[in-house]
Point group: C2
């Protein structure tokens, strides 16, 4: 899959989204999973924002599409997308964001700007290593890691109040 732009720097976001959708179709095909119209549309909506989107935000967008959707529709699509590694849930925000490393096996680390709301997903192998070490030092078998850092992105450190 192709490289991604930094969310809090300007870039051609339409290309960003369409690349994500193309990647998603490839990934689903490889996994014999059905990226149905609803699922694809939800993925698109989430990708159109570099900021995490709540399930009910997605729902509102679907409704304004003219699609008569109810909460389970959205949650089911989100479950599917998560299961196939296409989106992540940000637990500290109750919101969802497109995975920038779809297809690669990884543990995401999320840098969440409290000022502008943008989120950058990193893969930090050294962090994962230390986490595993700390867990196994306690005899704990780690399965899933939630790692979310709130703070200020580079842009918001220098020019507060944008966006």
């Amino acid at each position: 899959m192709s490289a991604r732009a930094i969310p809090y720097r300007p870039h051609n976001h339409d290309a960003c989204v369409s690349q994500a959708l193309t990647d998603a179709r490839t990934i689903c095909q490889r996994q014999n999973a059905r990226l149905t119209p609803i699922r694809e549309r939800v993925l698109e909506l989430i990708w159109q924002s570099h900021k995490p989107l709540g399930a009910y935000d997605v729902l509102a967008e679907l409704s304004s599409d003219g699609h008569n959707a109810a909460p389970p529709t959205v949650y089911r699509a989100l479950d599917f997308l998560q299961q196939h590694g296409l989106v992540h849930r940000i637990a500290s925000l109750n919101a969802f964001i497109g995975c920038t490393h779809a297809g690669e096996s990884h543990t995401g680390m999320f840098l969440i700007c409290r000022a502008c709301g943008n989120v950058l997903e990193l893969t930090a192998p050294e962090v994962s290593t230390e986490v595993r070490k700390a867990a196994s030092g306690e005899g704990f078998r780690a399965e899933t890691t939630t790692l979310e850092i709130a703070g200020l992105c580079p842009r918001c450190q220098s020019e507060p109040g944008h966006d």
Copy 2:
């Protein structure tokens, strides 16, 4: 503050709770904070379980005390306790747990057993270091870290189905 027992190993839990309360009183006194009866009771309820307790679980306990409480009562107490470093919120569970390092400056890392529900709070300086490194490598100013590991505790790896 005194050492703590491992939650998923048997220990004198009453002593564990009363020590936590004693520590809390000391900490609040030092910070000129008022550990009112409601706040202390909420802390006690949370400590009585080594497993994270939801806000509405706390509310139910208060009600069965005969205390006529509403959600804001609980959330306010929990806010206070978090602000003074006496409890942590576990974002991936929407639940709260007593801090085992109250009074020490620390970033908690939580090992959450998906089988028995017990949670162990660790301080892992190497992890914190790597997290800081990864964040500052992106020019990000990290403020608060959410680090929650779900998996199997030592006990549940060997004897499934207890508790």
